[in-house]
């Protein structure tokens, strides 16, 4: 990061320990471009004149963007390959439940997408399995949105007409997720950087068969990436799947994770293949 940006962060009192420098610099540059400012000094003056901006900046580094079926390929693979594999294994083991964790669910689209796919599989294949779906985020405000499950029309663009018809009802111009779908998801606050717990309290003992953690790792500095990956790895059951964004694949490959399907960002847990080296 250039000195001027470090200087600005210092003035702002932001401790840049979690996020990667290039990510922060990019966000600050975007923000300045929006305001039509070119130097960090003028930006600092602007912030001093407009105290609201400061609060905005503080939340700036948290990225809450998410979408239904954000990566079409991943969700197709989930439907055609991953869930069938899990179901097959579970039936062999005579287990009763599938445990899924959406580790940074933001406003809930990801969790609802998974839930929709599971529901469809359940009706079509009728496996005798319960799905425990835990969705967590560290931001209580975003979680509240997720719990409400009401979305604008423009965010429904990737949801097929049939799914909209089946899982949503329109209320006051918003698309609201049906109660049946909602009740299948346990939303709770969980900070992936916590040192206290190793999995969300609502899941009691982790042991997940599938974890979604997309677009989280890339924002963090490498030390914290390691910490998060370690936590995710510990809370995975044997042969469980971990889904990350395709941009974060390299990171997990470096750490010795096995990719389930090449280039997909879907990894499978396998004993003794990982290292948490720096």
């Amino acid at each position: 990061m250039s000195e001027s940006f470090e200087d600005l962060l210092c003035k702002l009192g932001v401790e840049n320990q979690y996020y990667s420098s290039s990510y922060i610099e990019q966000r600050l540059k975007n923000e300045m471009a929006l305001l039509g400012l070119t130097s960090t000094n003028t930006y600092w003056d602007f912030i001093q004149k407009n105290p609201d901006t400061r609060n905005r900046l503080m939340h700036l580094f948290e990225n809450h963007y998410t979408d239904f079926f954000r990566d079409g390929v991943v969700f197709t693979l989930l439907e055609k390959k991953v869930f069938p594999a899990i179901i097959e294994r579970k039936q062999k083991e005579q287990a009763k439940s599938v445990r899924v964790w959406s580790a940074a669910c933001s406003s809930g689209q990801e969790a609802y997408s998974i839930s929709m796919i599971w529901d469809e599989l359940r009706t079509s294949r009728n496996p005798d399995l319960t799905c425990f779906l835990f969705a967590t985020d560290k931001n209580e405000f975003q979680l509240e949105k997720a719990r409400k499950g009401a979305y604008l029309e423009q965010s429904m663009s990737r949801v097929s007409f049939e799914r909209v018809h089946r899982y949503f009802s329109k209320k006051e111009g918003l698309y609201v997720v049906n109660d049946a779908l909602k009740s299948g998801i346990d939303f709770s606050v969980f900070d992936l950087l916590t040192r206290q717990d190793c999995c969300p309290a609502s899941s009691i003992y982790g042991n997940f068969d599938l974890i979604f953690c997309c677009n989280v790792l890339c924002y963090y500095a490498s030390e914290y990436q390691n910490r998060i990956v370690r936590l995710l790895d510990h809370s995975m059951a044997e042969n469980a799947f971990l889904v990350v964004d395709s941009s974060e694949r390299d990171l997990l490959l470096r750490k010795g994770f096995l990719e389930f399907i090449p280039e997909s960002g879907i990894f499978v847990k396998h004993e003794n293949t990982r290292n948490y080296g720096p």
């Binding site: 439940s97 425990f132 346990d186 190793c198 309290a201 009691i204």
Partner: protein, 981 residues
Amino acid sequence: MALKDLKVGNQLRFGFGLVLLLVLLLSTFAWWQTYLLVEDSRTMYEHPLQVRKAVSELKFSISQMRLEYRNFLLSHSSEQKTLILKKTENLEAESRRQMNILQDRYLGPPQDIENLRRAFTNWIELRYSNLNIKEDYEIPNALKRVEESGDIGIARQELMRCVSVVEDFAIKKSLDLMAEATTIQRTFTERLIFMILFIVLLMGWLIFLLLRNIRNPIQELKRASEQFNNGKTDVRSDYNSKNEFGDLSRSLNTLFEVLESDLQIKNNVEIISRSMLNENEAALFCKQLIESLMLHTNSQMGAFYVLDNATNCFTCFSSIGIDRDCCRSFSAETFEGQIGLPLSTSNMQHITDIPENTPFQYATVSGILKPVEMVTLPISNGQIVFAVITLFTIKKYHKNDITVLETLKDTINARTNAVFYLSRLKQISVELEKKNELLEKQKNEVSELAIELKQQNEELEFQKVQLNEANNLKTTFLSRMSHELRTPLNSVIALSGVLSRRLKDKVSNDEYGYLEVIERNGKQLLDIINDILDISRIEAGKESINVTTFNLSEMIKEMMGMLQHQADTKNIQLTLSSDSENKTISSDFDKCMHILQNILSNAVKFTEDGSVSVEIFSENQSTKIRISDTGIGMSPEFLPFIFDEFRQAENKYAKQKGGTGLGMAIAQKYTILLGGTLQVSSELGKGSVFTLTLPHLPSDENSYENRYSIGKVLDVKVPNIQQNVQQPSTLLLVEDSEPMMLQMQEILQEAGYTLLTARNGIEALDSLSKMTPDAVILDLMMPEVNGFEVLKKIRENPATQWLPVMILTSKYVSKEELFFLKNNGIYQLIRKGGILKEPLLKEVYKMVLTGTENVKKPIHENPGRKILIVEDNPDNVLTIQALIGEDFEIVVAEDGLDGVEMSLQQRPDLILMDIALPRMNGVDAMKKIKERAETKHIPIVVVTASALSQDKDYFMAQGFDGYLAKPIDEELFEQLLNTIF
């Protein structure tokens, strides 16, 4: 110019009247001309036109008559002839009627009409004569008559000629009339154009006059007022007339004059005021004031008199234009002379017409001039008049000048006051400055002193830090030392114990007695070390207190029981009196015990015979315990130092009794920790009285008289773990959340447990009353009856008192709550989300095992068991070996790394682990061993000289399966082995 002087209203009326008149004239003229034209056309219509019409009719009738005649000649029937004759008659009548019209309308000579009539009658008569035709042969004759040359023809031509005369005249007449009308029209147009031109010109001239008369004065007034506005105050309106504008102009001029004079006054006032502001120095100010007053009031002489406080006289302070001799002084007391009246009334006085013989005179180059008028202006500071200004003129004062003075009166007053105050202030400030300088000097001296003091302070501060460091070093040193001392003692005490057991009946009684001495002295040394450790811990601030409610009387009775033997041998009576049978107190159980033990054992120790009595009573909401003895007592000089460390009465007897001199210090420090006081009174040779006052500390929970704890005796969490449950165990799962219940059910049933479930506290207790499970997994946060209450109920019921309970909660547990849970003997507290599936199942398994494994198996039934001792001190190894005996195979590792290696190679059944080890410390070694799948089931017990209670908690939290303090207590060690094997 007559018009100009007319009133504006009249001017306008005149103008508009003229316009109206002209319009009337124009319209009358137009009407007249139109009338003429109309008359002409009427004449034309009534005469020439009617005449021509009548002539035409006449001609037509004549032609008809001729035609009818021809028809008559041609017709054969008489009927037809009669009809034709009839027609002819009609035509004749018509012709005659036309001729009457002609007679009426014809304008030419009446002779013409007469001729016509005659010619017509002639023709008609001739025609009648031609009608009498009877036979056809007569027709050609008749026709012949009708021809041109016939008589009728001639008569007819004559008739036609008369008609054409009339007609021609009529045509000529109408042409004349037409020409006349055209002429009229032309002249009318010319006249109209001329008149309009005339009227326009006239109107233009009128408008010009009116405009000029209105605009000129307005412009003049505007010019004047604009110039006035722009500051030319001497400008006047030049317009002069008798009308309204003239009046306006005159009054405006008057206004300007008034304003000008006002402005002048204002200006003067302003200039004078400004000049007053220029100077603050009194003398210069007065001079300038008079100067500007004179300049702007046209005075020639002026003087400024000031009250001299010393003589109470007004003396001349400054003057201009007055001869030196004239400036005499006036007494202020007697209102003397010129200034008398102004002085007494405090008002300005204006004297006119000064007589010729005034002493004042104005010297000019050309002689002496006498002043004519003078003005006296008193200046007061609100109470007294302290200055007077007087001005003279050799002319007369203008009214404005006096107004200027009147206006300025207050300003002069205020300003003069200010200047004089200022001058006094200056004087005072100069004095103050001098004093300040003096003070500054003194201050500098003081600050130098302060700096010195500060330096001294810093030195002291530094010394204090050094002292603190030294004190900390002392505490650390004591703690280290005691730790170091405990390690060798371990061998001494434990081995002497082993020897005394093994050598019993094998050596002589004397020699056997030596062993006893060694053991007793070792234990005494351990007591001393423990005391030192206690003191250092208190001083390091590491002591915390746990408040519980307990039975104090019971505690003291127990203590007395322990001392009874010693008392009996010395023949001392121990008595206890209490104001109530079961005295309870809220305080720290262990610390109270420690304090009372110290005091009581001291009392017994230092009493040779007589009695030691304890009294318990309540006073002011606190509990007092008085312990009095009839012992050796202390001298008053020593009393102040009794609670100091390492002090003991300088007394041979005391020396003989031994002790570190720490007991009382610890007792007092603990008392302070508990918020109480410890007082002592004593008399040498007669005895001492210790009074301990303890307050009731607020207890966090109600009361825990029963202190349950599973594994309290041994601190062993788990015996050896086997991976399969031999018989299905029943678990009670208490959980209010449905999803969590489902999750737990799944893994527990999968693991083969039989499950009872309860959705809340009430259901849980209900379920427990029907059937007792092997263990309980309990949530804390539940509606109605929460986990704490359930736990309490479980512990209160004798049937479930020993039931292992695991707390599984997502609640953050506070220190107080944790204390409650500990005191109620929970097996383990596990946070939801803080554990993974496998460890959770393992914990449940361990818990069930703890609950079911009640039978102790004797050591000797397990020959061939292997124990790994990880210990770097060979003496300690020897000691432990001696304690274990020969029933076990013993392997020794000398450091942590070796320990890990050996554990893998030898696969022992138990590992005893020291903490302070070379290469790898005990905790890390334990973790390494537990990480390996092959060795992770081996129980590891920590053996350490770190004997603090928090150390124990720490080691257990790290994952050790048991804890043993050095020096190793033989009995406890045996119990440990029994539990594990």
